[in-house]
């Protein structure tokens, strides 16, 4: 082993591998926060773009500045991710080189010169040097990956204007393909990795696919579905039923917004007669309640009343916890039974259950991809809707809900524990004959053996009274949504 090689081995053996590993791990954390940061900046941009707090030429300039900020942040985020990947490739090379260098030096220190065992020292030393060279190459790659951002020899652009010159901001953006049949987690990761320009392009190019895609943030689904709604309202060839539903949805949105409520249209499938409409912000609010209605509910006929229930539930939640920001969503994401023959079979629930499970997964995934704190999520199911929850719980994995409320259930297949939720509540009354029916299972939710926590009711409450603010059940559901009611 020559003197220069011995010196190099000595240097490699002195590397502080744990310190390097810690530093790279912390760079990983820093890089991860940047994509979340970009999502929040874009949220500010959307708030400004809405024109609700500022409009006019200067406001438009400010919106443009935030678009630029988002675009540059996306480019830097992508550059840091590539750079980080090179740092991470470097780590095992550093560790192996360090170990082999130490080994070679240790053996060499105890061997007399000229012995055959010296060959193994040379071999080990060569291996150490090869790994050290690979580490050095990865270290250079970490810097080279930032070249597209104007970084040269470790020197970055001096300021934002300089950086802006290295990031292409103009020109048409080709909309990316929308992922098909992917888990919401994968969808959310795909979405979070798109630039804002690409996100807006895909909303424009594929609103039907995007508007129904679980894992995409609520704001984006809302924009996509409103485009679909506008098209439907402008169309002259739509079947009467679909046209009526489109008008009902549009009128409901207008009425809620006129009342100062934020509305997010999460699903608009006119041909499938499916709609999901939220009051509040599903992307950021502390608590989310998903209302799953039962039979004979259609968007065209019942959206107004169901949205009223959602608004009442939001008010009850705020009464229970005034500081809690709450979003309540009418989820008609399944086609409810429209006549008795359908109501006594599970077919609709078997279609709705998987859709509900995926919708719940999507709500969590969209937040998780940008490190937004998860909402406390409660599923509030009424009547046949409780079957849908039953079917959703049968899907692989755990139902993504913190609490389930079963109202006027006609019977469940199994006990409350089978729903795999941390807390299950129920409400049923003697004056509600449906809750005695046991059509789809002999487990009555009001029986002690079922295992749910009963909510307060009044004996005279009928099957449609659970959301009535004049009875005690609604306030109790609000407490569940807020997390203020402890299960027994």
């Amino acid at each position: 082993v020559s003197a220069p090689v011995a010196a190099r081995l000595s240097a490699i053996a002195a590397w502080d591998v744990p310190l390097v590993r810690r530093a790279v791990n912390q760079l990983d954390e820093v890089a991860g926060r940047l994509s979340t940061w970009r999502a929040r900046i874009e949220g500010v941009g959307r708030a400004l773009e809405s024109g609700e707090c500022w409009s006019g030429p200067a406001a438009r300039s400010a919106v443009g500045a935030l678009h630029d900020l988002s675009a540059v942040t996306w480019a830097v985020d992508a550059g840091l991710a590539r750079s980080l990947s090179a740092y991470e490739r470097m780590l095992p090379e550093v560790a192996t080189a360090h170990e082999l260098a130490g080994e070679a030096r240790a053996v060499a220190s105890v061997l007399p010169e000229g012995m055959d065992a010296g060959l193994s020292v040379v071999t080990t030393a060569d291996a150490a040097l090869r790994h050290a060279a690979a580490a050095a190459a990865a270290a250079r790659d970490a810097g080279d990956e930032l070249a597209g951002l104007g970084v040269r020899d470790g020197f970055a652009p001096v300021d934002f204007s300089d950086l802006l010159g290295h990031v292409p901001l103009v020109g048409p953006v080709a909309p990316p393909a929308v992922p098909v049949r992917r888990h919401p987690d994968e969808v959310a990761t795909w979405w979070a990795g798109l630039s804002e320009a690409s996100q807006l392009a895909v909303i424009s190019s594929s609103p039907a696919a995007l508007g129904a895609l679980d894992g995409v943030p609520a704001w984006a689904r809302d924009r996509a579905n409103r485009r679909l709604l506008d098209r439907a309202l402008a169309s002259r060839g739509l079947p009467d039923g679909e046209a009526t539903t489109a008008r009902v949805v549009a009128a409901r949105i207008a009425a809620e917004e006129a009342n100062g409520r934020q509305v997010q249209l999460q699903l608009l499938d006119l041909s499938g007669d499916r709609v999901a409409l939220a009051l509040g912000d599903l992307d950021t609010d502390d608590a989310v309640a998903v209302l799953v209605p039962g039979i004979f509910n259609t968007p065209g006929d019942d959206l107004d009343a169901l949205t009223g229930d959602a608004a009442d539930l939001a008010a009850a939640t705020r009464a229970a916890a005034p500081a809690t920001a709450v979003a309540t969503m009418v989820w008609l994401g399944y086609r409810t039974p429209s006549h008795l023959a359908e109501a006594v079979v599970r077919t609709s629930a078997e279609r709705g259950g998987p859709a509900l499970a995926t919708a719940l997964d999507g709500l969590g995934a969209a937040r998780g991809a940008v490190a937004t704190p998860a909402a406390r999520t409660t599923v509030v199911a009424h009547s046949y809707g409780t079957y849908v929850v039953d079917e959703a719980a049968d899907e692989p994995g755990t139902l993504a809900a913190d609490a389930i409320v079963l109202l006027g259930s006609p019977g469940m297949e199994d006990d409350a524990a089978s729903l795999d939720a941390p807390a299950v509540f129920d409400a049923a009354t003697p004056a509600d004959p449906i809750s005695w029916a046991g059509w789809f299972g002999d487990r009555h939710t009001w029986e002690n053996g079922y295992g749910s926590t009963g909510l307060p009711t009044e004996a005279a409450m009928g099957h449609s009274d659970y959301f009535d603010p004049g009875h005690p059940t609604l306030a109790a559901i609000g407490e569940v949504v807020a997390g203020a009611r402890v299960p027994e």
Partner: protein
């Protein structure tokens, strides 16, 4: 509230809700602050690489982490500047509204200034 008439004709209305605009400015300023903290963190990590590795590897990895910090700082500075523009706009609208209000008030007869 409605803003003063702009110096050049505009195609659309000009409106501003100063309190809401100030809230957005504050959020943006807070975001700028968070990223600036991350930039400082990257800068401190940059200093650990030469210590941990030494030689060319230490210099290269440290310089790259310094570039990370510079990129983050550039973005944070811009976010801070936009936040300042937003809060400045809100303050300017408030000030101009107050000035206009005062100007109009001066046109009233002295005897009308106090209710009787």
């Amino acid at each position: 509230m409605s803003a003063p008439v702009p110096s050049r004709p505009s195609r659309g209305p000009i409106t501003v809700e100063p309190a809401a605009l100030e809230a957005l400015a504050a959020e943006l300023a807070a975001l700028a602050g968070e990223l600036a903290v991350d930039a400082e963190h990257s800068e401190s990590l940059a200093a650990t690489f030469p210590v941990a590795l030494g030689g060319e590897e230490g210099w290269v990895t440290g310089a790259t982490a310094t570039a990370w910090a510079a990129l983050q700082e550039a973005i944070a500075d811009r976010a801070r500047a936009v936040a300042g523009t937003l809060s400045g706009a809100a303050a300017a609208y408030r000030a101009q509204d107050a000035a206009l209000s005062g100007h109009m008030g001066r046109g009233r007869p002295a005897g009308d200034r106090e209710p009787r």
